[in-house]
């Protein structure tokens, strides 16, 4: 017979039932919480501070990120690198640099491509092509370089490698985009060979079509069959970002985010925290095509040769800053 430990009086049957129900409820709650944590644990891993792991201290942005509940503009620097086997993994160039600027007050997004060959001052280093900043100092130096040159406050960054991009596109079920020209490249770098060297032949027909990750990567990476060279590639990269956004818009985020995180762990680095990531995912999901604007500085740069013989782009900085004031109004750094 059960007795109450305090009084020695036997429990009434109703009291025992209440205790069992309470224990069951607690166990169920713990199981639910545990399940949720297991379910979302990949996100925890993805959102760990990555730069520290390669021996660098994550640099602070020039301006702190706006509070979650504010309507202030948020700028994210997207970085992309060739990170196949032939490259030293802690000194990758950033072949892609796009500032994604989100204005919650107007519900507008602007994507600004920064050409990789642009000659800039890199803080603490000699002047060089802008893609060298990431190789020399990771995301913090890339962020500081963009902030110094363009006066755009970079609140967050996200870096993705070749495999990461392929996985993102495949995870959203492929992308739908309008291939602007036929893509023919007899010397396309074989991204996924074991050595990282070698070439393959690529053909993509022009016109609207569905692309998987591998073909989407070919579309944005190939430069051979494009007279506009790197600028043409910037246009295609922004096209792909838009196409990914449109696919994400139709996704169930509850189901998608943890799976995404599991797939992308090690292929994506970011200093976005989970709440901001969630907020941005919801914001992006509600965007319409007309809400997203594509911007380029191609009209304000010209070809040149550096003193050490590199083919570079030099900028008309007053013209670029005037252009950026048109795009971002007063949201630039002093």
């Amino acid at each position: 017979m059960n007795h109450s430990p305090a009084t020695g009086v036997p429990d009434a049957p109703g009291s025992r039932r209440v205790r069992w129900i309470a224990l069951g409820a607690i166990a169920l709650a713990l199981a639910l919480i545990g399940g949720v944590l297991i379910y979302l644990s990949p996100l925890l891993a993805l959102l760990e501070p990555h730069e520290a792991s390669v021996g660098r201290v994550a640099g602070a942005p020039a301006a702190p990120p706006p509070p979650l509940d504010s309507k202030q503009r948020i700028n994210i620097l997207l970085l992309g690198s060739d990170n196949d086997q032939k490259f030293q993994q802690d000194a990758l160039l950033s072949q892609t640099m796009i500032v994604v600027s989100i204005d919650p007050s107007t519900h507008q997004v602007t994507m600004l491509s920064l050409p990789r060959d642009l000659w800039v001052e890199i803080p603490g280093h000699p002047s060089a092509k802008i893609d060298l900043a990431y190789a020399q100092g990771g995301a913090p130096l890339a962020r500081a370089t963009v902030e110094k040159a363009f006066k755009i406050p970079i609140h967050y960054y996200a870096w993705v490698g070749l495999n990461g991009l392929v996985r993102v596109v495949d995870r959203v079920g492929g992308v739908d985009l309008d291939v602007l020209h036929p893509v023919l490249d007899d010397n396309y770098p074989n991204d996924f060979s074991e050595s990282g060297y070698g070439t393959e032949r690529v053909y993509l027909a022009a016109g609207p079509q569905h692309l998987d990750g591998r073909h989407a990567l070919q579309y944005v990476r190939s430069r051979h069959g494009d007279l506009l060279s790197d600028f043409g590639r910037s246009v295609r990269q922004q096209q792909l970002l838009l196409a990914i956004q449109q696919r994400v818009a139709g996704m169930d985020l509850v189901a998608a985010l943890p799976t995404f995180a599991r797939d992308l762990n090690g292929h994506v680095k970011t200093d976005l925290d989970l709440l901001r990531l969630t907020q941005l995912a919801l914001f992006m999901r509600d965007l319409h095509p007309g809400d997203v604007h594509q911007a380029y500085i191609s009209a304000y740069v010209r070809d040149a040769t550096s003193s050490d013989g590199q083919q570079i782009l030099v900028a008309d900085w007053p013209a670029i800053h005037a252009y950026l004031r048109q795009l971002f109004g007063g949201d630039l750094l002093p």
Binding site: G207, H210, G225
Partner: protein, 340 residues
Amino acid sequence: MTRRIAVLLLAMLVLAGCTSSGPVAHDPGRVVLPVKQVPVPGRLYATKGRALYRFSGTDLTRLRFGPRVKDPAVTSAGDRIAVAQLQDQSSTIVVSDPNGQNRQILTPSSLAEGSLWALAPAFDDDGHRIVYLTDRGKQPSSPQNLQPNDLGVWAYDLATGQTRRLVHPFAYTGGDSDPSYRPGVSDQLVYTTYLYGGAPLEPVARLTWMSLRTGATVYLSPDPGRNFEPALSRDGRFVAFIRGGAGGDDLCVMPLATTYTHELRPYPSDSAVLVQSGIVAQPVWAPDGSAIAFLKLVNGSFDLFILPIATDGAIHAAGAAQAVTHGSFLDADSRLAWSP
């Protein structure tokens, strides 16, 4: 750690309250027909996952035509079919009877200049010639010595086996696309020219008419602009094409003059009639000219539609487009073909 768990739970709650209204479509791996099937007059060919399918009435048949094919074409009588057969990094043009028997490989997969692409075949009116795309004739290229390898328009004579280049592409544009002979005449070609135009330079696609007799070419659409994938009606009087723009890729139809001697202003495409908006690709006319089939992006899937068209008097859609497939992820980079 406690704060991180709290943040996770809060994010989960936010997400749970804001799930998508409808799941994004994923490729089912097969062709899906709608519950209420749309009968297809004649035989309409399309590819999915690089396999060839034939729609006829309410029947759907997967044709055994090699492991990976695209760009089916069919003679006006429907007795011969051509496809681009894809290998790992090359392709060849193959013709056969409509069931894939009596196959004949027409073009080489490689020559001295290296591996070759051969794509987008199209028969002439009597089925004696094929026009197609290839990078044949290019200069050998390497990463240290990059050479253009754009697609040009070539012709193959089925009686003699002789080939000849009809159009040299602009270098570093990817080349030309969508060639077809104009039905009703033996000496005219219509295709898409890819180039760069405008200021600053931007990708341009122009509808192009060519006289095979004189070699003269006339643009039928402006620069800048993106007008592509021309498809000629079986009587050769009309061309359906895709007009690309910020809002989408719309299906338009315009009449063709008997011949062209110079570029017209306004361009013929300027007065084309919009018959289907959206993200549309690969139009093809019904053999009797009463409809246009095309692929349209719906909920993330390219599906096959048929749109009735009236061309006597003012060109217009004579009804709503009907879906032949549903959520099937057909290959939108592969042409359609339609025979009686």
